[in-house]
């Protein structure tokens, strides 16, 4: 048996699950955290080996050693062009979030539930089977919800929206015609699916669960639940290949409005967590805008933006989390003047925030360029909307930087500088977005291959005339 025949993908998924089982009995938070770190680290290593295996040999299944193959004679989980970077990315986010957890947060941050959530999330991102994917995304709601309930926080808004998402997703997929015939799906199938995606991605007016979630969940938990963009993954796997153009057009328009609306809201926020929620929503919606245009360039830009947003906003969130660990909940009603106490956090805040809005030298820059290029190719007004949303997000992030780090002199007798483990976690993410920005070609190549694969899939399932972008059609008509 060769090294590459080991089922690394299954090991990636099962390692955190095993960790969750083993740490469930550990009562001492620091010990539980150390174990959690070890398991998330092991999952990350396995994910990276899996990624390398796919890159070098195209191996995805683990051959005869695969447990799936042994027990079910089938492969439910596989690496392909789309999820190739997403699986190690999710593992990395879990590892870094765990690494950056300070002792103050260890009691709040449940290692067991976090590991369980990681396992489910990794499984979801590895899964292509529709029903299994729907089940995994649905089950994925439970660990963070249980953690929130354990902390005695209000969860009704979250439960309402996630229940609606699960019901709509299940209902929609029930009506999907999965036969091999190239045909347009009925509205009974596509409408619930479209609504489900809009709920999970936080599209206006179904977005308030995201702000509520960010305000009430522990920040680490909130980050890990929203930043990998599971809703977008569901959209690509389940909706994009089969949805008729009107569905994509509706998702695109609603996403664009959401991006603009939440970008505007981000500029007037008085609370750092709510700001983060709107900032995230705007970016997540921009990713959806690119996807729904489904031209090769916009799709490539959107997939690049997905990576960029996940990396940047996770890092950005970790900086906010580190600040909260020192100063409590951060109000944006006044200047805090924290720069002199935490200069590294200030620099990283700005770097990661600007990275997410596409500042030159970061991975977001090329993603934004591609997205705007693709959007303008499809429709000038969509392009203008994307640019305006991006400009508003840029204003919002610098406004918050000024409010948190400048404006007055914060006095404290205690050293409030970033802790070494936090520094490693945040700098790792900052380095990735800068490296991705300086050398974007490998990322763009990988995402372009994924985009082509998605479009091929769509072309094989939908009559050819409908694969043309709706916006392109309009443009041609004009």
């Amino acid at each position: 048996m060769s090294f590459w025949n080991i089922p690394w993908l299954e090991i990636t998924i099962l390692t955190p699950l095993l960790g969750a089982l083993l740490t469930s009995g550990v009562r001492e938070p620091a010990r539980g955290h150390a174990w959690g770190l070890a398991f998330t680290g092991a999952a990350l290593i396995a994910a990276l080996i899996g990624w390398l295996g796919f890159q070098l040999h195209g191996r995805t299944d683990g051959g005869a050693w695969s447990l799936e193959h042994r027990f079910f004679a089938n492969h439910f989980f596989a690496i392909d062009e789309l999820n190739l970077p997403l699986i190690p990315l999710v593992a990395l986010l879990h590892f870094l979030t765990s690494l950056a957890t300070t002792r103050t947060k260890m009691r709040r941050y449940s290692t067991t539930w976090s590991l369980a959530a990681e396992s489910i999330r990794l499984a979801a991102f590895s899964c292509k089977e529709p029903w299994l994917l729907i089940s995994l995304i649905s089950i994925g709601v439970l660990p963070p919800l249980i953690e929130m309930l354990n902390r005695g926080k209000p969860s009704r808004v979250f439960v309402l929206h996630m229940s609606l998402f699960i019901v709509l997703m299940t209902l929609g997929w029930t009506f999907v015609d999965s036969s091999d015939n190239r045909r347009t799906q009925t509205a009974w199938a596509t409408l619930p699916l479209m609504l489900a995606i809009l709920v999970r991605c936080g599209a206006v007016p179904l977005h308030c669960w995201v702000t509520d979630w960010c305000e009430n969940a522990s920040f680490g938990n909130a980050l890990l639940y929203i930043t990998p963009l599971v809703g977008v993954y569901a959209a690509v796997r389940l909706v994009l290949p089969i949805a008729p153009d009107w569905t994509l057009r509706a998702i695109g328009i609603i996403s664009l409005l959401t991006a603009l609306y939440t970008a505007g809201l981000g500029t007037v926020q008085r609370d750092a967590r709510r700001f983060f929620a709107y900032f995230f929503l705007s970016h997540a919606s921009l990713v959806l805008v690119g996807l729904e245009l489904h031209t090769p360039i916009s799709l490539t830009g959107s997939l690049c933006l997905w990576l960029s947003v996940t990396l940047s906003l996770s890092g950005f969130g970790l900086v906010l989390r580190a600040l909260e660990a020192r100063y409590g909940r951060l109000s944006l009603n006044q200047f805090h003047g924290l720069y002199d106490h935490s200069p590294t956090l200030a620099i990283c805040f700005l770097l990661l925030g600007l990275g997410s809005v596409g500042f030159p030298g970061t991975i977001g820059f090329e993603s934004a360029e591609l997205l705007v290029d693709g959007a303008i190719e499809a429709n000038l007004y969509v392009g203008i909307g994307v640019v305006i949303a991006s400009a508003l997000n840029g204003i919002a992030v610098v406004r918050v930087y000024f409010l948190l780090f400048t404006g007055k002199k914060h006095s404290s007798t205690i050293n409030l500088e970033i802790a070494p483990r936090e520094r490693i976690a945040i700098l790792a993410l900052a380095s990735l977005i800068v490296l991705g920005g300086l050398f974007p070609q490998p990322v763009v190549n990988s995402r372009h291959l994924a985009a082509e694969s998605i479009l091929r899939d769509r072309e094989s399932r939908i009559p050819h005339s409908e694969t043309v972008s709706v916006f392109t059609e309009e443009l041609e008509n004009e």
Binding site: R103, T267, F335, D373
Partner: protein, 473 residues
């Protein structure tokens, strides 16, 4: 390739890489928490600037000696997408982001000017900022600014120009807020950032639209292959009008032309060296530089050229009036700069490109000198008055005599309030925007409260964080 072209290529890389390395060194040392000492910072800074300046002068010498007017150096595709398969038969996937630098009659003088002024002022700042708390921060941002300026000057594609443009914007805003323990500089920095961001959005749109029109973002394709300023734009009058107005909007934001002029006096909150080089010399001329670079596009539409002239002249008149009544030297100088920028823009609109370029270069040098002398103005006045044995004569400007007496108080108020431009932008754009979204936010909170049945948890600024801090490892 002939020998001298190889040399120009090599030197071009030096010109571009000097600020890149400086920025990387300063940035990484700050990020990992190992700040460079003041003498070390000064040495590295001076070395990088000397090398860049000498290399740019050498390029000029080589070009003059070999009668080269237009040298393009292609550094390769930063990003390129070509369809791997014919998966999506309905539309082709083709995208290139080429990194290309151009040495011509416009870029070489501007790059030399950048190195000369930034180097001189940087050396001045080594002493001026001595023992300032944010010494390293100042030079890191200064390095970012220089990198942005050099990239913008030498850009051979609209995307490369946009990259530099954004760097200049960010470094300017952060340097205005340099004394960040006071709220006023920070507010002004944010204000400038907002205007820059809007201007950046216009430039980005223009860049993408131009990219689509010609299939590439290269200036050679867009503006004709001839050496500047002889190019002919490869787009129609209608297309030029759309792109041109976007570019004019971007230039207006960056160069503080009307109606964005209000940010210029606000920018004076930053340290004097950065004010001198940014708002006296380089940054404030960047809009004019952009218009010079794309001047073949302006030529294709008479309406566009007319708009440029009108905007330039309006700005010049406005800046003259506002500058006449300023009571602090830096604001007076900033409006004097703006008046000249307005005239330069009008010259560009009228098609006098060489005059505009020479005007720009001369004005930048003179104004920088005035800015760095500004803090010692009182001392200079005292010296003069002592030498004369009397007070310096003060007189109203020549135009004042031609203004009817009833108009004078109104005009004075208009000038003192800086044309109410800031107030108009605030009252009619910023405040309604904030009110609208604050109202949305309020409704969202009510809706969430209704759904959850509980009040949303908000940050409480009065909550003491001490208990949490003490638990840190």
């Amino acid at each position: 390739m002939t020998d001298h072209l190889d040399w120009i290529r090599l030197l071009g890389l030096v010109v571009l890489c000097a600020p890149v390395l400086l920025m990387a060194l300063m940035g990484i040392s700050s990020l990992i928490g190992r700040k460079l000492s003041e003498p070390m910072t000064a040495k590295i800074f001076q070395a990088a600037f000397s090398i860049g300046f000498i290399a740019s002068l050498a390029i000029l010498g080589l070009m003059l000696a070999n009668n080269e007017e237009h040298v393009v150096i292609e550094l390769g595709n930063w990003v390129a997408i070509d369809s791997h398969t014919s998966a999506h038969s309905s539309s082709h996937a083709h995208y290139h982001f080429v990194v290309k630098i151009v040495f011509d009659r416009l870029s070489v003088p501007f790059a030399i000017l950048t190195y000369m002024l930034c180097g001189t002022i940087g050396t001045f700042a080594v002493k001026y900022m001595h023992r300032e708390v944010g010494y390293n921060r100042f030079f890191t941002l200064y390095a970012l600014f220089v990198l942005g300026m050099v990239m913008t000057s030498l850009a051979g594609t609209i995307e490369t120009l946009f990259t530099g443009w954004e760097m200049v914007g960010l470094s300017s805003a952060l340097l205005i807020a340099f004394f960040h323990e006071r709220p006023a500089p920070v507010r002004n920095g944010l204000r400038v950032w907002i205007v820059y961001r809007v201007s950046d959005a216009a430039l980005l749109l223009a860049a993408v639209v131009m990219h689509h029109m010609s299939g590439e973002g290269d200036f050679d394709r867009l503006l004709g292959a001839g050496p500047w300023p002889e190019g002919k734009a490869a787009i129609s009058g209608g297309q030029a009008l759309i792109v041109g107005f976007l570019l004019l909007f971007a230039a207006a934001g960056k160069s503080a032309l009307v109606p964005f002029s209000g940010w210029l006096p606000r920018a004076m909150e930053g340290p004097t060296p950065s004010s001198a080089v940014f708002y006296g010399a380089l940054s404030v001329h960047l809009g004019a530089f952009l218009l010079l670079r794309v001047s073949p596009i302006l030529e294709t539409s008479i309406w566009l050229s007319a708009a440029v002239v009108v905007l330039g002249l309006t700005t010049a008149v406005f800046a003259y009036l506002a500058g006449s009544v300023q009571t602090d030297i830096k604001s007076a100088l900033s409006f004097a700069s703006l008046a000249q920028v307005g005239i330069i823009v009008a010259e560009i609109g009228l098609g006098f490109r060489y005059i505009a370029l020479v005007h720009l270069l001369g004005h930048a040098c003179l104004r920088t000198l005035q800015f760095v002398r500004a803090p010692s103005l009182l001392s200079d006045y005292r010296l003069l008055e002592n030498a004369m044995g009397s007070r310096l004569p003060s007189s109203t400007g020549p135009a004042w005599r031609f203004i009817p007496a009833p108009w004078r108080p109104w005009l004075y108020r208009f000038a003192l309030e800086r044309g109410y431009l800031d107030a108009i932008l605030t009252d009619y754009i910023a405040v309604p925007f904030i009110n609208l979204f604050t109202w949305f936010d309020k409704q969202e909170r009510r809706w969430t409260r209704f759904l959850s049945g509980e009040k949303t948890e908000e940050a409480n600024p009065s909550a003491p964080p001490a208990g949490r801090i003490e638990e840190l490892p």
